[in-house]
């Protein structure tokens, strides 16, 4: 019932802005709708997170603690993304880059995107989950192609074709799962995950393995696993910054959520998780190592943040393959990365508007020119690089703890890649924050100074949540709750 209300509210908040005629009304309506969606997400997600899994809507929706966590994250982050979109689009309308009509379309697409992510995460029917995941690609393609810039069509085309191809491969996996189920289930197979999970132990393991292979590659394309990640830097850097934050922070996790649903079925059928864990470990290591090469000489800061998202998805994937301790680590890392990356993208949006360039060579002295954004950005970079008090410190510590004795070579590769990435980030972002840019330094002098707007409030909310979560992790009370969430992943 509440989930149905959530869906309807999402659609409504996308449709509402079309009835307004002025920019301020459009944004106010969008914010109102988005706040409603956030509130309802909390209502849906919190009970599931803290309590037990809930099957509702006649078997249509299933929210377990992990799904509840993702619902909460989606709700919160779409709220802050909408908050950040207001000054972002306002600036663009002011400069004439965007029109009011396009703004309305932006909010509509954003609402549909959020809707499709929510359906992916709460849906019990695997078919609808697939449809919703494909819908996320479709709703965001136009957002990726939002601007009339040089690379927009290219980025959108690659995004559309690659992700849809991947999801089609996922459909093959889904059909093979259905086929495996129908061969053993007496009353005909369903696409309901809960029903499938109850009889999954009897599915023929060989077919389930092949099905999982297709799912991993297919949905893994959407989750940004290497070597299927090539669309990610293009798409995430072409989209408007608040949307990039959502893409990087939540969508990748939603795709991984779908993979984990099928992993559970494959593990039940195989009688153990060794085989799927091996695959996830391998892909995880590859996905952490390859972005390092792109980060150290990156010329564009939005692209760099996108590659960093690939790397962190690699860490999350690696941790899901770590056996007993794994899902807990994945949960901590998902929360930490989502909150940090979207905040950084919001900050990047502010920087982009002031400097009108996404290249490192044209940007500098951000701490002086944009004091608030610079401070938040510095804090975000430090938290992303796993400084103490960051949840990512705890999760990376756990990863090393769990993997150093059992998979020493993988751990070595990951630590090496993380060090290279650290060096790259520092090398590129320290001058960005502290030194004057190599080009256009004089023109910048009169544009110094910043006023506090709602995007800073959004970033502040992120930082507060991150630090609170990081501090919470330093007490012992965090772990039983997180174990409860992690247990639902398996």
């Amino acid at each position: 019932m509440t989930i149905l209300a959530l869906i309807l509210l999402s659609i409504l908040s996308g449709v509402l802005p079309f009835f307004a005629r002025r920019f301020e009304t459009v944004t106010a309506l969008a914010l109102l709708g988005s706040s409603g969606v956030a509130a309802l997400s909390a209502v849906v997600g919190m009970p599931a997170l803290l309590g037990a899994s809930a099957l509702s809507g006649g078997g249509l929706w299933y929210v377990d603690p992990f799904g509840g966590l993702l619902v909460l994250l989606i709700g919160f982050m779409q709220w802050t993304a909408t908050m950040a979109s207001v000054p972002y689009l306002g600036e663009e309308v002011r400069k004439g880059i965007t029109s009011l009509a396009r703004t309305k379309r932006y909010f509509a697409l954003l609402a549909l995107f959020v809707l499709s992510m929510l359906v992916t995460v709460v849906s019990n029917n695997l078919g609808f989950m697939w449809v919703a995941l494909e819908a996320t690609t479709l709703t965001t393609t136009l957002l990726v192609a939002f601007y009339d810039r040089k690379g927009s069509v290219e980025a959108a085309w690659k995004y559309l074709i690659l992700c849809s191809t991947g999801i089609s491969l996922g459909l093959i996996g889904l059909l093979m799962t259905y086929y495996a189920a129908s061969s053993v289930m007496a009353g005909g197979a369903t696409l309901d995950w809960t029903t499938l999970a109850a009889s999954a132990h009897a599915f023929p393991a060989s077919i389930m393995r092949i099905a999982f292979a297709f799912i991993l590659i297919g949905f893994g394309t959407k989750a940004g696993l290497v070597p299927m990640h090539a669309w990610l830097p293009d798409a995430h850097s072409s989209a408007p910054s608040p949307v990039s934050g959502l893409l990087s922070g939540v969508l990748l996790n939603a795709a991984l959520f779908a993979v984990l649903r099928y992993k559970a079925l494959a593990d039940l059928s195989a009688g153990g998780s060794g085989w799927t864990n091996g695959l996830l470990l391998g892909f995880g290591v590859l996905t952490v190592a390859v972005p390092a090469a792109f980060i150290i000489f990156q010329a564009d800061y939005k692209r760099l943040l996108a590659y960093s998202s690939v790397e962190h998805m690699g860490l999350i994937t690696f941790s899901t393959g770590l056996g007993v301790a794994g899902p807990l680590i994945a949960v901590i890392h998902i929360i930490g990365h989502a909150l940090t990356k979207s905040m950084l993208f919001i900050g990047a949006g502010n920087i982009l508007h002031r400097y009108e360039s996404t290249k490192f060579a044209n940007v500098g002295a951000v701490m002086r020119v944009l004091p608030y954004t610079g401070a938040f950005f510095l804090a975000g970079i430090l938290l992303l690089l796993a400084a103490p008090l960051s949840p990512l410190f705890v999760s990376e510590y756990f990863i090393v703890s769990a993997a150093v004795a059992t998979h020493p070579l993988y751990t070595l590769i990951i630590l090496f890649a993380l060090s290279v990435i650290f060096a790259g980030f520092l090398h590129l972002f320290a001058p960005l924050l502290f030194t004057a840019p190599s080009r256009g330094a004089e023109a910048l002098a009169e544009k110094t100074g910043e006023r506090w707007n709602i995007s800073h409030t959004a970033m502040l909310l992120h930082i507060v949540l991150l630090l609170a979560f990081g501090a919470f992790l330093l007490t012992g009370a965090a772990y039983p709750l997180l174990e409860h969430v992690a247990a639902s992943i398996t």
């Binding site: 690659l162 400084a387 103490p388 510590y397 030194t435």
Partner: protein
């Protein structure tokens, strides 16, 4: 006094720096913001010292005081950490006293409130590392310490500081990765295990895992302590920080790295001789390299940084030799091992004393002359008589001359090494001889370096405008170095006897019982000898120089007017060293001549540019960097923008995974 009171004092001393940070941020517009923060830091130091005094006396320095024990974080005071806490709190007090007068001078270069805020976090983290008793707490505090030190290094945000900070943070992060891997390898998968628990688990591990863990921990702690070849960040980073922070970085943070290494050593069930030899060898090579680089360096603060490399190398070599000797079962080896352990403890205190004092004094010098180049100083003794007296005492300590504590410590070291020459095993005798030779060379180079330092800066005449126009030295900048100098002399007088009676804290590794006869000399004897010699020299001078006439006239100058710039500079003084060790020093000299009258090559403006390249950078660091870059360039070619290639990658991945699934 009840143990709980000490616990409270320790906690207060731990937390006060954070209050200082908060005060710095909140009071940032007030003029007294800096003073408030420094007073809070000094209070933290005083409380810490009071707590330690109680710990060492009342509690007999053998028990642990638990400060916090939660499932995730745990802090307590152990005997080993109490010794190093002494250094941390002394350092806190002295450098904060100095910063009262120093930071206002640099109000336009640094953002003083932010620097103080970061300093508070740094001081907190230093103590937190020492107080951590679980792997997680240790690594958390360690990373916090390294990160806050980074912000201190880049405090003035100049390009040199940013690049020095970059090198520092990257290397410390690599070290941190090695440390995590090493500790967690020993932990057997328990994430929140305490160090006691690690000892239990480590007993079950196989030798390969233990060796790997040791290598990782040695690399991690060694890179932070400035051991070669992972030392390259040190001479760049330490000079860039504000001087009171440089003093903390050199005087205290390096010692914390040593503490970490000693703690790590206690985790292993046994230390094979090969490991101990490696530690000793690396230590001695670092000491040699540090001393040599200090001897040819002409940047005042960088010279001190190289001297830190040298001293840390000596300390680590002491640790290594102690471990080697401890594992032997020959007569006298136990006592000699104890002697080296005693040396380690003593030299830690000595180095802290003189290095902190020297960094603070050099900082004052730089602040008043606005240059760090030794070649541009000269004649400062005339301008600052009291200050140069203090500096002289500190330089005597740095050069290991009597009556400073450093002299007695190194005497202990050399004599014990000489005693080892009497062993029967030829391998041991050969290594002891080599070590002895190298240590003597190191001592000689260090002496050379500091003689150069003092004479280039204070003696002679002012060689440049900077030294000519040196402003007067305020008292507040003079007192902290004076305290350090006094401490150094006191260590000389009282250090060894006090330490050899009471270092039960080092006892978990090597029991410190007696000292080898002949390995130490009575400090009072030396002191009396020096006093007598100087009194004699003074009286002789007064008696025999009474009737000498002094003639003042022009020096023969071949027609060119003599200027003070033509005096012996630091660079000139070190020329013989550069020549003798030219393979290692890699000095590059370029003479540029520009003709004054076109067509006449004989009359020209000549300029010489010379620089010293680092042999490690050229052979090791650049090669590794180039390797990484070429691999990265190859990988980047895969993102060539052709969507069909991207689709083929998807297909390839699919085929591979399906084949695995079959």
């Amino acid at each position: 006094m009840a143990p709980s009171v000490f616990g409270l004092l320790f906690v207060a001393a731990l937390v006060l720096p954070l209050l200082g940070s908060a005060a710095a941020l909140l009071a940032r517009r007030a003029g007294w913001g800096n003073a408030l923060s420094q007073y809070l830091f000094m209070l933290s130091g005083v409380l810490g010292l009071a707590a330690l005094a109680g710990y060492f006396t009342a509690l007999h320095a053998a028990s642990s005081v638990v400060l916090l024990s939660s499932p995730v974080l745990a802090f307590s005071v152990t005997p080993l950490s109490a010794f190093f806490l002494l250094i941390v709190y002394l350092g806190t007090f002295i450098t904060s006293l100095y910063a009262l007068g120093y930071l206002p001078l640099y109000a336009d270069a640094y953002s003083v409130p932010l620097t103080n805020a970061v300093s508070g976090v740094f001081l907190f983290a230093l103590a937190a590392v020492l107080l951590s008793t679980t792997v997680f707490t240790f690594l958390l505090s360690w990373e916090l310490m390294s990160l806050s030190a980074y912000f201190l290094v880049i405090a003035d945000r100049s390009p040199e500081s940013l690049s020095a900070g970059f090198l520092y943070l990257v290397m410390t992060h690599i070290g941190f990765a090695c440390l995590s891997a090493g500790f967690l390898l020993l932990s057997g998968g328990h994430a929140f295990i305490s160090f006691d628990g690690v000892r239990e688990v480590a007993r079950q591990l196989n030798p390969a895992a233990l060796a790997a863990a040791f290598a990782l921990l040695f690399i991690g702690f060694g890179s932070k302590a400035g051991l070669v070849p992972l030392h390259q960040w040190l001479p760049y980073a330490h000079p860039q920080a504000p001087s009171h922070s440089s003093a903390l970085l050199s005087g205290t943070m390096l010692k914390v790295a040593l503490y970490g290494f000693l703690l790590a050593l206690t985790l292993f069930p046994g230390i094979p001789a090969s490991w101990a030899f490696t530690v000793a060898a690396v230590g001695l090579i670092s000491a040699f390299f540090g001393a040599l680089s200090a001897a040819v360096e002409h940047d005042a603060k960088r010279l001190l940084a190289w001297s830190s490399v040298e001293n840390m190398g000596l300390i680590f070599s002491g640790v290594g030799i102690a471990l080697v000797l401890h594992g032997l079962s020959m007569p006298l080896s136990g006592a000699l091992a104890a002697a080296f352990a005693l040396f380690v403890a003593f030299h830690v205190l000595n180095h802290f004393a003189f290095k902190t004092g020297l960094f603070l004094a050099t900082g004052a010098m730089v602040a008043k002359t606005h240059t760090r180049d030794l070649d541009l100083y000269g004649g400062l003794a005339g301008k600052w008589p009291a200050f140069s007296g203090v500096f002289l005492v500190l330089v005597i300590a740095a050069a290991a001359l009597p009556p400073s504590g450093t002299f007695f410590g190194e005497w202990l070291y050399l004599q014990s090494l000489a005693a080892a020459l009497r062993f029967s095993s030829p391998l041991l005798v050969a290594s002891a001889a080599a070590a002895l030779g190298l240590a003597a060379l190191v001592g000689g180079l260090a002496l050379f370096a500091f003689v150069k330092f003092f004479s280039a800066a204070f003696l002679g005449r002012a060689r440049s405008e900077h030294a000519e126009a040196a402003e007067p030295m305020p008292v507040l900048l003079l007192v902290p170095p004076l305290l350090c100098a006094a401490f150094s002399v006191l260590l000389g007088l009282f250090g060894l006897p006090v330490l050899s009676a009471a270092t039960a804290g080092f006892g978990s590794l090597v029991p410190v019982t007696t000292v080898v006869p002949g390995a130490s000399m009575s400090a009072w004897f030396v002191f009396a000898l020096l006093a007598f010699a100087s009194a004699f020299a003074f009286i002789a001078y007064r008696v025999f120089a009474r009737n000498r006439t002094v003639r003042r006239t022009e020096t023969w100058d071949c027609g060119t007017p003599l200027t003070p710039r033509m005096e012996y500079t630091a660079t000139g003084f070190s020329a013989p060293m550069r020549f003798f060790f030219r393979g290692l020093v890699m000095a590059q000299k370029e003479i540029l001549a520009e003709a004054v009258v076109p067509g006449n090559p004989w009359i020209a403006n000549r300029r010489i540019e010379w620089s010293i390249a680092s042999v490690w950078e050229a052979w090791l660091y650049r090669r590794i960097a180039r390797g990484i870059v070429s691999v990265a360039a190859f990988v980047k070619r895969l993102q060539n923008g052709v969507i069909q290639l991207y689709l083929l990658f998807v297909l390839l991945a699919l085929i591979i995974v399906v084949l695995v699934a079959l």
